[in-house]
């Protein structure tokens, strides 16, 4: 099984007006294997989107890469030239956006927009071939009457249909890595399920990264999970390991916050407080202020990364059974 993308101790941060860099992503490491899906979960502001934008090299201008590597099929994305990156974007790595309502150009027909994505990476393609491929991909994502729909504008599509168009646009070049940034947040529940089915089908052809705060989606389509909190990958492992034995207090809090169908008449668990902003991170564990099991040590030192079991890593001072420290 080939590795498609691998983050190796990747760190990035933001410059403020005085040029001082504040670290956000702190030595994030994980990898995506061929044919498998990785879910990146966490609250808003945890650096999930920055992780996915890092893979596209589309970070905002104030962002600074501080170290580490992002290997895409063995090549370091961070060292590629802009011209090389333009070839990778949309062809080898593509992205599905959160807001299907705003992520399509309102004045171009969807046929043109999907066709453009194809044409830009295969300039020699003929008009007929291009048309054929666009119709095929639209049918693939479940749009009926693709030939007529081609000539319509985004405002003539419903939200769910637009998300399908977005997916069609992202997969027309058969990307090796597909990144879905909150792919279903803007959709209603019935459409969500259909979109997830489409994404599950697409997984077979390459790697998939799903960025979401919805643990249900992760459980549905992912094999591996990275839990992010304030720029650190606090826990990562296989879906089973994380869902059956969450170790980090943050992961446990997230799991406990999911409403269940069992009618216990007690208020839903919440994690008190909010994620600190990048300028307010303190020494030590970034979750310390909200953690129920916080100790003196947590506030002073960065927690060590521990390996617990085969495919399960956690970054916490708490003692776990069979733990083995990977690095301090």
């Amino acid at each position: 099984m080939a590795t498609i993308v691998e983050f190796k101790d990747y760190s990035m941060g933001f410059k403020d007006d005085d040029g001082v860099v504040f670290n956000l992503l702190d030595q994030v490491s994980f990898k995506v294997e061929e044919g498998r899906a990785l879910g990146i979960v966490g609250e808003s502001g945890c650096g999930k989107s920055m992780t996915s934008l890092s893979m596209m090299r589309l970070l905002p201008p104030s962002a600074v890469v501080q170290g580490g590597e992002i290997l895409f099929q063995g090549r370091n994305l961070l060292q590629m030239s802009d011209a090389e990156m333009e070839k990778v974007r949309g062809k080898d790595i593509s992205m599905i956006f959160q807001e299907p309502m705003t992520a399509l150009n309102p004045v171009l027909t969807i046929g043109f927009q999907i066709g453009e994505a194809l044409k830009i990476h295969e300039p020699s393609i003929t008009k007929e071939e291009q048309q054929k491929r666009v119709v095929e991909v639209l049918a693939e994502v479940g749009i009926s009457n693709p030939e007529t729909r081609l000539n319509q504008y985004p405002h003539e599509f419903s939200g769910g249909m637009r998300q399908r168009v977005m997916i069609a646009m992202a997969v027309i070049n058969h990307p090796i890595l597909l990144i879905a940034d909150e792919p279903t947040t803007a959709l209603d529940v019935t459409i969500q399920a259909q979109i997830l089915d489409i994404m599950k089908k697409l997984k077979g052809t390459g790697g998939l990264v799903v960025v979401t705060h919805n643990l249900g989606i992760v459980a549905d389509i992912c094999e591996e999970v990275v839990v992010m909190y304030a720029g650190r990958a606090v826990e990562r492992g296989t879906l089973k390991a994380i869902f059956d034995h969450p170790l980090h207090p943050y992961t446990q809090g997230l799991m406990a916050s999911i409403p269940t169908t069992k009618s216990e008449k007690k208020p839903l668990h919440t994690i008190p407080g909010t994620v600190p902003t990048v300028f307010d991170f303190k020494e030590g564990c970034r979750f310390a202020d909200r953690c129920e099991r916080c100790t003196e040590e947590c506030r002073k030192k960065r927690p060590p990364l521990k390996k617990v079991g085969d495919d399960h890593l956690v970054q916490c001072f708490l003692p776990f059974e069979g733990e083995e420290i990977v690095h301090e």
Binding site: M56, L58, P61, E86, K87, V88, R89, G90, K91, S94, M95, F97, E99, T102, A103, L104, N105, P106, V107, L108, E116, A117, I120, H121, N145, T148, N151, Q152, Y153, H155, M166, M169
Partner: protein
């Protein structure tokens, strides 16, 4: 399944657009076939200041020249000057606005500063100086007007670009691997057509007015007829205030300017409405 209608279908049903088109078409035809319609008005005749009649439908001026002939030949000049001026200001203004709105850094800053400087300069005195230095010919008048009307177009384009480049579909286009120039000149520009189009027609209209004022001030081309030149001649012969008043002499060219401006505005607005997929229904 609803079939998409063509551009023409929507255009034919747009009242303002049709009125504008007919008006503009009339003026264009008038300008193009002028030499076949009437002789070039020059010299002088004995029919001084005749009121409109059958032989002179729009009357004559103080030199006994037919106003209708002057207006028809004047349409040619006004059309030529305004079209040239619009093309020049579009060629400078649109790229300048797009780049200064999209590219952050020194290039954007410099273009921005240029726009600001040009906008603060008083336009008419500068036009007069330029026209005086470059000499009075139609081409120079068109060039001067074009060179001084691009900043407002650039400013409007820039504002639209600033808004559009923040939209997610531009980010999505980057994610598809599209190059920056392509995103800028295809995806951003197409979305900015609304304000840009309207501004182009405004420039066209104000070019006719500027040409008229330059001619009126004696800085137009004295050897060709334009609506401005007719007005200037009327003004210098005190036609506007003299009594009995030869109203046809100054009113007709003024009306021509108004009609031209209004028709172009209507046409521009209609095209903009139809090009916008949401504006059709």
């Amino acid at each position: 399944m609803k079939q998409r209608k063509s551009f023409g279908y929507y255009f034919l049903r747009n009242k303002n657009g049709m009125i504008g088109l007919i008006g503009v078409a009339l003026i264009v035809i008038l300008g193009v076939i002028a030499p076949f319609l009437v002789a070039y008005p020059e010299g002088y005749t004995a029919d001084i200041l005749l009121a409109p009649s059958l032989s002179h439908p729009l009357g004559t001026d103080k030199l006994g020249l037919d106003i209708l002939a002057e207006v028809i030949w004047g349409a040619r000049t006004s059309l030529y000057v305004s079209l040239t001026a619009v093309v020049i200001s579009a060629l400078i203004g649109i790229p300048a606005g797009l780049i200064s709105g999209f590219v952050k850094g020194w290039l954007g800053e410099i273009i921005d500063a240029c726009i600001d400087i040009f906008l603060t300069l008083p336009m008419l005195p500068l036009m007069i100086i330029m026209a005086a230095i470059m000499g009075t010919s139609i081409n120079n008048v068109a060039l001067v007007i074009g060179l001084f009307s691009w900043p407002q177009l650039a400013r409007v384009t820039k504002n639209a670009t600033l808004k559009i480049s923040e939209m997610q579909y531009i980010e999505a286009a980057t994610c598809l691997g599209l190059s920056k120039p392509r995103i800028l000149f295809k995806h951003v520009l197409l979305n900015a057509t609304g304000p840009v189009f309207v501004n182009l027609t405004l420039i066209m209209a104000s070019a006719v007015l500027s040409e008229a004022s330059l001619s009126f001030l004696g800085l137009g081309d004295p050897t060709t007829w334009s609506w401005g030149t007719i007005l200037k001649r009327a003004w210098t012969s005190n036609a506007v205030i003299s009594s009995p008043n030869p109203w046809w002499w100054w009113l007709i060219p003024s009306l021509c300017i108004v009609i031209f401006v209004v028709c172009f505005n209507m046409l521009g607005t209609a095209i903009n409405d139809i090009l916008n997929p949401k504006g059709r229904d």
